[in-house]
């Protein structure tokens, strides 16, 4: 029991030291951004630090390309080993602060089979969405009816929040992207 506590304390100290180290200059985790997740929990973007992340932007009422983005990410997930999957987080941030709530995000997750523990579906406020899209180089535009027109990109972040790969190929696994992802997971 005592050994276990020591071990936990050690892990805590190690993670505290990790968090204190400065982020690389091109890390997107420098962006102050508060997310609300599908279970209602609050998390800042920076809490993703420490593990590679596959990230995209979408909105829950999007019935065109967004389910295809989700499908593409699941295809990536399926191509990984269980051990690799456990090291990775999948994050989808909504363009639509006006309409997306934890409830609508949960519904999208259920409809698209994104309910494994590693998946974050998240909303942010309007300024946060704009900033995140800006650091990711994602284009989006709100249409008069409330829908969004947006570029479709799946982005790989390393454990420090630096962009390592991106793909907009939703038809099949992007071999180049998967190769970089594999490399990040063996670090």
């Amino acid at each position: 029991m005592k050994g276990r506590w020591l071990c936990l304390t050690g892990a805590f100290l190690a993670s505290a030291a990790w968090a204190a180290a400065p982020l690389p200059g091109d890390s997107i985790y420098q962006l102050p951004l508060e997310l609300t997740l599908q279970d209602g929990a609050q998390a800042s973007l920076g809490t993703l630090r420490g593990r590679p992340v596959v990230l995209t932007m979408f909105y829950a009422s999007c019935d065109g390309v967004c389910p295809i983005i989700a499908l593409s990410m699941r295809r990536m997930e399926a191509a990984l080993s269980t051990a690799q999957r456990e090291r990775l987080r999948w994050v989808m941030v909504s363009f639509d602060p006006a309409r997306d709530t934890p409830g609508s995000l949960r519904e999208f997750a259920a409809n698209n089979h994104l309910e494994a523990p590693g998946w974050w579906l998240a909303r942010a406020d309007e300024a946060g969405v704009r900033n995140l899209a800006a650091v990711l180089g994602i284009r989006y535009r709100k249409l008069p009816g409330g829908a969004f027109s947006h570029s479709t990109e799946i982005i790989l972040l390393d454990g420090e929040g630096v962009i390592r790969a991106r793909t907009s190929n939703l038809n099949q696994l992007d071999a180049g992207f998967m190769q970089v992802l594999g490399k990040e997971l063996t670090r």
């Binding site: 200059g25 420098q30 999007c62 065109g64 390309v65 800006a134 180089g137 284009r139 535009r141 570029s151």
Partner: protein, 275 residues
């Protein structure tokens, strides 16, 4: 990134000062019976209005509504931006993170805290990223104008709110695009337009809040095979009126930017008001 340097047109049309003062604000203030100076010295109040944008909001929707807002009459200058970085150290060029500004950020200044002899105080500040421009405006309790706000005010010439049908107006803008220049930028405040706003054309490119909303086609959410997503704006461009060509050049430039980019001819001004 590099973009062709553009020079101001050779001859700048001077607006008659009386015309320049005839802003929408005056009639608005009159209706409200408010006896206040509605136009601050450095900011013009733009009344609500509607216009046909070069970037239609959606297929079959041509008209854009613009709510009332205030717009800086002039672009932010070197002197103003220097005062900002002196009080907001994280935006000095030796402190700023690469995520928020590229390596050319404020590179025309002599040092991180002085612009030196190579730049004049009243020149528009350039070599600023979108993040830096946004931070400057937010520090003033303002924001960047949206594209539609900018386009709406920039449609004016010295005497009319919408000069876009005027071939001379278009030609003056295209001439500016066409002139490569090694000349230093002119000081801000060359000639006011109908709203009393200066330098929207012929001096610099300007950041807008939603620069990354431009050139996304209206049907990209429908597309299934997605590898053309990033370029689908090309379709949007081909459908618009030839008269918008001068403005579309600017849109094409803005849409080529990333938020951390800086260039020698790209500056900004701030706006205020609910969107």
């Amino acid at each position: 990134m590099r973009w062709p340097e553009a020079a101001p047109p050779r001859s700048v049309r001077r607006a008659r000062p009386i015309e320049a003062m005839r802003t929408a604000t005056f009639s608005h203030a009159w209706l409200l019976g408010v006896a206040t100076a509605a136009v601050a010295a450095d900011s013009a109040s733009i009344g609500a209005g509607r216009f046909e944008s070069a970037v239609p909001p959606a297929q079959g929707v041509a008209t854009v509504e613009v709510a009332a807002f205030d717009l800086d009459t002039k672009p932010v200058t070197n002197a103003q931006f220097l005062a900002f970085v002196r009080t907001h150290r994280s935006w000095r060029r030796d402190h700023v993170s690469r995520l928020f500004a590229d390596a050319e950020y404020l590179s025309h200044w002599r040092s991180a805290t002085a612009f030196g002899a190579a730049a004049r105080p009243s020149q528009p500040v350039t070599h600023v990223s979108w993040f830096a421009a946004k931070a400057y405006c937010e520090a003033r309790g303002a924001r960047l104008p949206t594209w539609y706000e900018w386009e709406y005010v920039a449609a004016a010439d010295g005497t009319t709110p919408d000069a876009r049908g005027n071939p001379l107006w278009r030609q003056a803008i295209l001439d500016w695009y066409a002139h490569p220049s090694a000349q230093p930028l002119a000081d801000v405040g060359r000639a006011p337009n109908y709203y009393g706003v200066f330098d929207l054309h012929g001096l610099i490119w300007e950041w807008v809040l939603d620069f990354n909303a431009l050139l996304v086609s209206n049907d990209s959410r429908e597309q299934g095979g997605a590898d053309r997503a990033r370029f689908c704006g090309e379709g949007a461009l081909s459908t618009v009126d030839r008269e918008h060509y001068a403005v579309l050049m600017r849109i094409a430039f803005l849409s080529s930017l990333e938020a951390a980019y800086t260039t020698a001819n790209l500056g900004f001004r701030c706006a205020r008001g609910e969107r």
